[in-house]
């Protein structure tokens, strides 16, 4: 397996979907079955490669493994440098898994205007971008993959998205939701990544390298200290904070998640948001450790605002999908709070929080999509009694919502609990007052989270079905949905009961990161 460990494993994981996209493009549009099978085959192959990476990974060692470093653009001294460590491995496997599930779910749930071929090509392109971002160890390569996810998601929202019309108060005109959401998503993210790129180039100008490993070593040695570091951190912060999204950069998120087709929402919530928080852990913290300590209180405050704001906003929603979207703002707030503590506990919390949020919220968006597919509405006022009409689907919704509100024993618990635990005792030198206050407010946030999730369940699942549904037949969870959802449901329980699935990978790496960067 030497060839697999020396770069081929990761390259296959990243580029098999891209090859798949090219193959699917060559198949005539009329042969729909073949198109679907080819797309699924390549996604499965990529997933298999990522699982194999997990088996070849040595969990006892921190640092990057299965890496390769090839000359790519020697004119700017940028290399094709990829590798995984304990932080990126869970994210990599999650991204390839969600891609497979998204394709299975799509099998017979095609949003208008149909066209499976184009839809699958976009999913596969997205898969390459997502997996690539998690393994890139070169800033230029990271930037390319980070941007690569934008185009497919833009088209996915813009073509297959929600066609209801909304009135834009500022521009005083009416547009279809999908068009507004698609361009808003793109402009926000592009704005962030333009500044992120400036930050990368500035790092290269000072450090003479784009290599994340080399730059991290320089960062430790204090090469980027002072006001230079401050401005670079600010530039990177804009890029990652928009993507996470942190309050107040979050406004694209509810629009994009609500307007996107089901699979688009799932991919957005499960993976795309993590690119931002992953960027903080992979790039900002190790390369600019001093500035990370200066910025940590500010990040913690914004994170707490996001937790409270997200929860309160959820309580004001009438649209089920929009409620789930806002819940992401709150959950990513916990992730960012964990990162801001700069401790082992906090960063471990962030990574498991990212994985858990991916699994849980991905599942919630699947369920919301399937309900919309059947009821043709997402208005919670019109739903209700879902548990009676579709007992299995309703049961799954109840289960997943419980996981989302952080019930102990399910996946959502660890990220929230440990983030709060971490902020009780942040890195030495960080203001205890700020972080302990953040902990208290965050704890209130968990109560609010429970509140809106139960409120949603009560409106959607419990009670008597609305009169307008009487006499209608609803088919409960179908075969494809079972296939797509079972892994997520199993994952929710497994991570909840046995968090070592994630911690086993992250522990050593996070410990090494905190020790080398912050001496903690």
């Amino acid at each position: 397996m030497g060839w697999f460990d020396s770069g081929w494993g990761l390259s296959l994981t990243v580029f098999l979907p891209l090859v798949g996209a090219a193959v699917v493009m060559l198949i005539p549009r009329a042969q729909e079955q073949l198109v679907k099978q080819a797309a699924l085959a390549f996604a499965l192959a990529s997933f298999a490669a990522s699982v194999l990476v997990g088996f070849r990974f040595d969990y006892g060692v921190s640092g990057f493994q299965l890496d390769t470093n090839l000359s790519w653009i020697s004119a700017i001294n940028s290399n094709f440098h990829v590798g995984v460590d304990g932080i990126s491995l869970p994210m990599l496997i999650l991204s390839t898994l969600i891609t497979v599930l998204a394709i299975i779910y799509s099998w017979n749930h095609w949003p208008e205007p149909h066209n499976p071929k184009a839809f699958l090509v976009l999913i596969l392109l997205l898969a390459t971008g997502m997996a690539g971002t998690f393994v890139a160890l070169d800033l230029v390569l990271f930037f390319i993959f980070f941007e690569l996810v934008l185009l497919p998601m833009y088209f996915m929202i813009g073509i297959w998205g929600d066609r209801t019309r909304i009135k834009l108060a500022v521009f005083n005109r009416e547009v279809e939701t999908r068009l507004y959401a698609a361009i808003k998503f793109f402009l926000f993210t592009l704005f962030g990544s333009a500044f992120m790129l400036l930050g990368f180039i500035a790092l290269n100008a000072r450090g003479g390298s784009f290599d994340i490993v080399e730059l991290s070593e320089m960062g430790r040695a204090g090469v980027f200290a002072g006001s230079f570091g401050f401005w670079v951190f600010a530039a990177l912060f804009i890029g990652f904070a928009v993507k996470v999204p942190m309050w107040p950069f979050h406004t694209w998120l509810p629009d994009a998640h609500t307007a996107a087709p089901t699979v688009g929402s799932v991919l957005l919530a499960a993976i795309l948001l993590k690119l931002g928080s992953y960027g903080f852990i992979r790039i900002s913290l190790p390369i600019l450790p001093e500035e990370a300590q200066n910025w940590a209180p500010a990040i913690a405050i914004l994170a707490v605002i996001a937790i409270i704001y997200g929860s309160l906003a959820c309580l004001a929603q009438t649209d089920m999908k929009r409620l789930i979207a806002f819940s992401s703002v709150g959950h990513m707030g916990f992730v960012m709070l964990g990162i801001a503590t700069l401790t082992e506990v906090g960063i471990n919390a962030a990574v498991i929080g990212m994985v858990a949020h991916g699994v849980i919220t991905g599942m919630l968006f699947f369920l919301a999509g399937s309900m919309q597919h059947r009821y043709h509405t997402r208005e919670m006022a019109r739903l209700g009694g879902n548990l009676k009409l579709m007992p299995i689907l309703g049961g799954m919704l109840g289960f997943t919502a419980m996981a989302s509100l952080g019930l102990p024993g399910l996946a959502g618990f660890w990220g929230e609990f440990m983030a709060l635990f971490g902020s009780f005792n942040p890195l030495d030198g960080l203001s205890l007052g700020v972080f302990r206050t953040a902990m208290v407010i965050g704890a209130i946030g968990t109560i609010l989270t429970a509140g809106y999730m139960l409120w949603m369940l009560q409106k959607v699942n419990l009670g008597e079905p609305n009169a307008e549904w009487s006499g209608k037949e609803f088919h409960d969870v179908d075969r494809y949905e079972w296939f797509a959802w079972a892994p997520l449901l199993v994952g929710i329980v497994a991570i909840g009961v046995f968090p070592k699935i994630v911690f086993g990978a992250t522990d050593g790496t996070v410990e090494a990161l905190v020790r080398t960067a912050f001496g903690g």
């Binding site: 020697s74 205007p113 930037f143 934008l150 813009g158 068009l179 698609a182 500044f195 290269n204």
Partner: protein, 494 residues
């Protein structure tokens, strides 16, 4: 002793001109002239390759006023490729209009010859003649559609502005000669040391910048460009926005770096202002356009601003950073040439299908012509600088050059302006994409007819070449490394 090998590209192009004219009066099919022109351009590229690969020495001719070095070869290659693609685009266009085909190709090739001369010109007179040889055929080409009032307007505007800019340029050059008593760039550079406080010299430099400013359509010298592009035949607009513009940039680059190398304190800040204005104003006006060709006109003004960005900090650059800046400019020009030619080509193809260049008529293109819609997305997203298409690398090297002097506030400010402009620019490119991918087909477009309209193979070839270049360079920018390095050498030596 004349170095025929070094002059071979120019000689071959000159010969091709004669052949085209002669074929035009002979009783042979008109497409012979187009084939002759295309063959001539390919033939002219052969000595370029042999000079680049076989010879490592720079060649100085005619008392150092004509130099063939790697930098000149790269740009000659750029002009020849641009001319080749413009000719490909013209074939189907001119044929369908049944206007003087032979003359059209003759004039286009003349303009290319002028640009090729400019790349080697290292004195005031040669560069002026080269520039006029680029521009004069352009005036005629812009007015090719004689029956169309817009085309007449385009030609007249272009002509008046062209003459005005030539006068300004000539005036500036005469001042330079008056102060230094030299015509060669190396002579001027030597004689102008320490003159950066001399009012006449400041005036001279600013006039020269203004003269070239019109050629490259930098704000505030830009207002002719959108009208001219809209009215001129589309292949001519494509050529003007790439070939002729690049020729202007070459003039600007060589004058600034070689002749005014000691006067960076004068032209550096002036170019900072031109760059900031061109990006911002070009983009803001482009936001409001509904006609795709006009939009491309304003977008090319904005791109002109991006191309100028690396120069802007020249005053504070050291030799290595100057090399980076120079190489960034040339890299941007090369990438811009392919993506903008491609954008015009795809606009022509779509216009042929739907019969309009108004954005709302392009709605729903994806549903009945997915291939064209995909190509369109490739070129417009490349112009917007979205990976994995070549445009990202152009923007990347531009940012890298201006931030090379990191810590300099003015450089950072310009980089931030450029970054915000890159986001703004995305909005209007996305507007076109939105129309053709996400909007429903308008009733005025008969999709069945549109499907049946066949595209000329030459147009397909032009789109194919540019698309492959845009994707390949986007994924492997190293393909351009040789060209960037070739450009770097001149800034280090100069």
């Amino acid at each position: 002793m004349i170095d025929y090998h070094a002059l071979a590209p120019e000689l071959i192009l000159g010969g091709t001109l004669v052949v085209v004219l002669v074929l035009d009066v002979l009783p042979v099919p008109k497409w012979y002239t187009a084939v002759a022109g295309l063959t001539g351009l390919v033939a002219a590229a052969v000595p370029l390759l042999s000079l680049a690969l076989l010879e490592s020495d720079d060649r100085f001719m005619f008392g150092d006023s004509y130099v063939v070095d790697d930098f000149a070869l790269v740009l000659k290659g750029l002009f020849i490729v641009t001319g080749f693609i413009a000719l490909l685009l013209s074939v189907s266009y001119v044929e369908s209009d049944r206007y003087y085909q032979g003359e059209f190709y003759f004039l286009l090739l003349s303009s290319v010859l002028g640009a090729v001369v400019m790349a080697s010109a290292r004195d005031l007179i040669t560069i002026f003649i080269g520039l006029e040889l680029v521009s004069a055929p352009g005036f005629l080409l812009a007015g090719w559609r004689k029956g169309d009032a817009r085309s007449n307007e385009a030609a007249l505007k272009y002509f008046v502005i062209g003459v005005l800019s030539a006068a300004i340029l000539a005036f500036g050059m005469s001042l330079v000669y008056g102060v230094t008593g030299e015509v060669t760039f190396s002579g001027i550079a030597a004689a102008s040391v320490g003159l950066s406080d001399e009012p006449v010299m400041i005036l001279a430099v600013l006039f020269v910048l203004g003269g070239f400013g019109f050629k490259v359509a930098a704000v505030p010298f830009h207002f002719w460009a959108p009208d001219t592009y809209e009215g001129a035949p589309t292949p001519v607009a494509a050529y003007l926005s790439v070939g002729s513009k690049a020729a202007g940039f070459v003039g600007l680059l060589t004058m600034c770096y070689l002749a005014f190398s000691g006067l960076r304190d004068i032209w550096g800040p002036a170019i900072w202002i031109l760059a900031a204005l061109s990006m911002t104003i070009g983009n803001l006006i482009a936001l409001r356009q509904t006609n795709v060709i006009r939009l491309l006109g304003y977008s090319s003004i904005a791109h002109g601003g991006f191309i100028l960005v690396p120069f802007a900090m020249a005053a504070s650059f050291d030799a290595i950073e100057l090399g980076d800046a120079f190489s960034a400019t040339v890299t941007y020009l090369l990438i811009y040439a392919f993506m903008n030619m491609g954008a015009f080509a795809v606009a022509m193809a779509i216009a042929r299908k739907v019969g309009s260049v108004e954005m709302d008529q392009w709605s729903g293109l994806f549903t009945y012509a997915p291939g064209l819609a995909t190509l369109q997305a490739v070129f417009f997203f490349s112009l917007a600088g979205i990976p994995p298409f070549a445009g990202w690398f152009a923007k990347f090297v531009m940012f890298r050059a201006v931030l090379g002097d990191s810590g300099n506030t003015w450089g950072v400010v310009l980089a931030v302006i450029a970054a915000i402009n890159a986001v703004v620019a995305f909005f209007y490119y996305a507007k076109i994409i939105k129309a053709s991918w996400m909007d429903p087909v308008p009733e005025s477009v008969a999709t069945q007819d549109a499907k049946r309209i066949e595209l000329a193979p030459t147009l397909g070839l032009a789109m194919g070449i540019t698309a492959i270049a845009v994707v390949a360079v986007g994924i492997l920018p190293q393909l351009l490394a040789f060209f960037g390095d070739a450009a770097r050498a001149i800034a280090l030596g100069g």
